[in-house]
Symmetry: C2
Subunit: 136 residues, 2 copies
């Protein structure tokens, strides 16, 4: 099987998103922690600055990975959701999680190691379950 790229592969085009740690953290929290609001993102243990969080949410929205909306009875709180394009990023984040679990495992709880082992066994099943959770 010959995998040969004749021109630059398009990875560089996505680097404004995945080459930014705060954007990745937001996507992680949306995908794996079910977070939806500015306050929830702000409360992550990594302590993102509020001006940076604002900036990254705007960038993710402008590049079509998330949308910003409101609940019908609440004009104040923004609700952020992943778009289809954003949900399609799940395999990337899943592989990042698995890589981290394997290579940075001195920082990983035993509980998370077990979950990662289950995911490793059947990535497709995991992604299917997560997709259906996020599609709500």
């Amino acid at each position: 099987m010959d995998y040969k790229f004749r021109s630059n592969c398009p990875i560089s085009s996505v680097l404004d998103i995945i080459g930014d740690k705060w954007s990745l953290l937001i996507l992680r929290d949306m995908m794996f922690a079910g977070k939806k609001t500015f306050g929830e993102f702000s409360s992550s243990s990594e302590k993102i600055a509020t001006n940076i969080l604002t900036d990254r949410l705007q960038t993710l929205e402008q590049t079509g990975l998330i949308t910003k909306g409101k609940l019908p009875d609440n004009k104040k709180t923004n609700i952020y959701k992943l778009t289809e394009k954003g949900i399609d990023f799940l395999p990337v984040m899943t592989e990042v999680m698995l890589w981290s679990n394997k290579h940075l495992n001195e920082h990983v709880s035993e509980e998370n190691q077990k979950v990662a082992a289950m995911i490793q066994k059947d990535k497709e099943a995991f992604i299917k379950v997560m997709r259906s959770r996020l599609a709500d």
Copy 2:
């Protein structure tokens, strides 16, 4: 199947690497373009600044994803290689490539689209082939 994380998943620990676009470009060029030297990395179309390239190569070495060596008969040119830890990052870069190909395809050559379709059909086979290339 219940995938439930009881504590923070370890993604944030890896963000110094994958949350940096220049590091990702270097890893891409090593994995998919077979690049090994400072000059080759420097010649990528994204035009990384030489002081930044130096900095990122040092960071990747210090975090154990690449090694820096020389050829036996050449004391001048540095040869960079992926470590096992670095090669394990292949699935992440593969998913990034597939995501880019799907969502940024107006920038993607027809040739690369065909290659991406082949990869999508059998990711495991692709990763196996690439691993054996890189393990040399």
